[in-house]
């Protein structure tokens, strides 16, 4: 019974480690998606070509100005996304669409992320 319990505990500890890794991976994915969402805004046109757009509304800022402004083209230079590792010192490098930390409401909903920021 003792050995059985020990084995059970070891298995649970291993499972815990796997879940911790899964959690870290998800946090990273959320961070990267936010960077992608707020910086590289690329849509496909009717002809199939890709163009960078600046839409005036999103889930963070709201959609109030959506019908007022129109998308416009960006020529030359591809917006570079931030480093995919959770490098909090080098956020979005696209100066046209600067990402404020406060925009990252999804990452900021995790106290672990806030601790890392601090």
């Amino acid at each position: 019974e003792y050995e059985g319990l020990r084995e059970k505990l070891n298995k649970t500890l291993l499972q815990k480690k796997q879940l911790e890794d899964e959690f870290d991976a998800l946090q990273q994915e959320i961070y990267d998606k936010e960077t992608e969402y707020f910086s590289n805004r690329t849509i496909a046109t009717a002809s199939g070509a890709l163009k960078h757009v600046s839409t005036p509304g999103n889930i963070i800022k709201g959609f109030d100005g959506f019908t007022k402004s129109h998308s416009h083209h960006h020529h030359g230079g591809t917006a570079s996304a931030a480093s995919s590792s959770l490098n909090l010192n080098s956020l979005n490098t696209n100066s046209d669409f600067p990402i404020e930390n406060s925009d990252r409401i999804f990452s900021l909903s995790s106290a672990t992320f806030i601790k890392q920021l601090q």
Binding site: A46, I59, I60, K61, G62, F63, F66, T67, I105, F106, L108, S109, S110, A111, T112, I114
Partner: protein, 119 residues
Amino acid sequence: MDPSLALEQTLQDISNLEAEFHHAYEEIGANDGDIQEHQKKYMQKDSQIQKFIKQNGAIAEHPNESELNRDMQSELKEMLSLQKEKCKLANTALFMVAKHLSKLERNLTILEEDGVLAP
């Protein structure tokens, strides 16, 4: 239905989505902060027991062991309750945006079928 009407309708439907999202994720963050506090207390009590075992071996019982175990169980229960609340909030936010997206997609399909919008 015409495209501009569909757009207006969609914008009206999602006019509150920004506020709802901000609220949901702020609540999740606040709950997570509370969980961290409970986690700290849990770890403090756990380390008392672990320290005692290191000093006195695995057989000896910490003088306050049952009380510490009770407290730790209570902290765990609290953390689980808060975490379930966070899951509810996260699922609600997901449901809200999925609902609006689904409606928009249905409208787009209708417009395409009517030929007023290019596929």
